[in-house]
């Protein structure tokens, strides 16, 4: 079982959380083309390796936060609040083969 470090409540089991997909996706301007809009709505990096993603502590404080997690090992590498920039992970960024 995975455990996540909620920045407000501490370490809790994964069942208390809901996954919210890739972080830091910016909504394009209203002038966006169909292709840009489709890219925003549907396309994802779907990284194998370190992935910045949003989680929601539904059965806890009810707040959203960001997690850095390795999608090939499920290792938790960092937690940061919504609106904060993604912290650097020296030597760990990038995809694993």
């Amino acid at each position: 079982m995975m455990q996540l470090q909620c920045p407000y409540c501490g370490v809790r089991d994964e069942m208390e959380f809901r996954f919210g997909g890739q972080s830091h996706i910016t909504r394009p301007s209203p002038e966006a083309t169909d292709a840009e809009w489709a890219d925003y709505l549907f396309n994802r990096d779907n990284l194998k390796g370190v992935h910045a993603e949003r989680w929601y502590h539904g059965f806890g404080c009810g707040r959203w936060f960001n997690v850095l997690r390795d999608t090939s090992t499920h290792e938790m590498l960092g937690v940061y609040r919504m609106g904060a920039p993604r912290p650097a992970l020296p030597g760990k960024d990038g995809e694993t083969p």
């Binding site: 995975m2 996954f19 489709a38 549907f42 779907n46 993603e53 499920h74």
Partner: protein, 414 residues
């Protein structure tokens, strides 16, 4: 290829040392091919087979990073059905089921297809109403489906407990729904393709593409460069990685989907029983094991292992419907990396790169689509235009907005 038959089993069985020839040739890659299929799972092997069989293409290679059928093709729960809501889906999946119905003869390999029927349960009046609409749409799509009363369900599946927390109000069945042996499907396609001259290369990972002016000229692999003008990606959960190497972004999320089997018992289940509400399905394999599965672990994962909370929920749901299995032990549990698309409809056909074709986005239901997936992709590769059955499944639908939203429309239980 030596044909398999009752006589050949008898002949080899009588020998003190049976001399079964290798089913397919594992070869080293040549320097150039007419078409290269990336991914040696069911879809890749079937595509190569139909390229050779239907279109007479002889210089075809299937490149597999690991071993043949070692990904989702060997990890699924072996269900084939065509009870889909939208006409586009129904036409495609029913073609696939029809091909399954004759596949053992086509491949001279017994895939052990057993059309025992797939039974979907409704746990409320409203769900039953939705199901009636669904079953009716399936009939309009020219596919068999029947609404069943709780009494008919009990007669069909005597061990079932209808008095669950949300009691079973009815259900519907597609009687042609089937299970088969997934290894046999992989090996059967590999053997038949190999006999037609297709090169099956294992332990050969594609690491990049040779692109010139937006056109495919070849692939880079861990076993050297190969020149070709047609490449088909059939790599399921790793579609995003491979497509990124050709400069494409895909609307795919990779997640773990788990399944499990119990210890083997005598035949007790007659159908594949599925409940969307409590989210599980179960069938009994020919070996006697109960095969069960449910939802995917809903977060990005390439770990090929499922989480324990979902396993517990899955088993609990099964025991709610079949309390009699309470004493059984689980034998194995595993997971595959599935490629979920936004509308739970596959992504098939052309890409913005000329000569690069894609067969992905199967999510939790690619096994049932193997024969038709191979047949339609072979046609698409040869004619450089999508087969009529997969025209609605193109990558361009996300920009045009013409989605085929099976998840919402049919309440597809995974």
């Amino acid at each position: 290829m030596k044909g398999y038959s009752f006589y050949s089993i008898l002949k080899h069985g009588m020998r003190r040392k049976p001399r079964w020839p290798a089913a397919w040739h594992d070869v080293s890659p040549q320097r150039s091919y007419d078409a290269v299929i990336v991914g040696g799972g069911g879809h890749g092997l079937a595509t190569a087979y139909y390229l050779a069989r239907t279109h007479g293409m002889r210089r075809v290679a299937v490149l597999e990073k690991g071993w043949l059928g070692g990904g989702n093709s060997g990890r699924n729960t072996q269900v084939s059905r065509s009870n889909y809501f939208w006409p586009e889906s129904a036409a495609f999946y029913d073609r696939s089921l029809q091909l399954y119905e004759t596949l053992s003869h086509e491949l001279n390999f017994n895939v052990m297809l057993s059309q025992r029927g797939i039974l979907s349960l409704a746990h409320s009046h409203h769900e039953l109403e939705t199901m009636r609409r669904w079953a009716n749409a399936i009939q309009v799509n020219d596919v068999d489906s029947e609404i069943l009363s709780p009494q008919q369900i009990k007669k069909l599946e005597p061990l079932i407990n209808l008095d669950t927390r949300f009691p079973v109000r009815g259900g519907f069945i597609q009687r042609r729904g089937a299970i088969s042996r997934h290894d046999a499907v992989n090996w059967g396609y590999a053997r038949a393709a190999s006999a037609l001259g297709v090169d099956i290369v294992q332990n050969c990972e594609v690491t990049g593409f040779d692109l010139r002016n937006g056109e495919v000229r070849g692939v880079e692999t861990t076993r050297g460069s190969i020149s070709t003008e047609r490449v088909c990606l059939a790599v399921a959960g790793h579609s995003s990685q491979l497509a990124a190497r050709a400069g494409l972004r895909l609307p795919i999320t990779s997640m773990s989907l788990q399944a499990m089997v119990s210890e083997p018992i005598k035949p007790v289940l007659n159908t594949i029983t599925m409940s969307a509400v409590i989210h599980m399905y179960v069938s009994q394999s020919d070996r006697g094991e109960l095969v069960l599965g449910g939802g995917a672990d809903v977060y990005n994962s390439y770990a090929q292992r499922g989480g324990l909370p979902l396993l517990e929920q899955n088993v609990a749901a099964m025991l709610e419907l079949f309390p009699v299995f309470r004493g059984l032990r689980l034998l194995r549990q595993w997971a595959g990396t599935v490629d979920i698309s936004p509308d739970t409809t596959p992504i098939m056909g052309l890409t913005p790169v000329k000569g690069l074709y894609i067969n992905a986005g199967w999510g939790t239901g690619g096994y049932k689509a193997i024969p038709a997936g191979g047949e339609t992709m072979a046609h698409t590769i040869v004619s450089d235009s999508p087969h009529p059955l997969i025209r609605a499944f193109g990558l361009d639908r996300f920009a045009t907005g013409r989605l085929v939203d099976e998840g919402a429309a049919a309440g597809v239980a995974h």
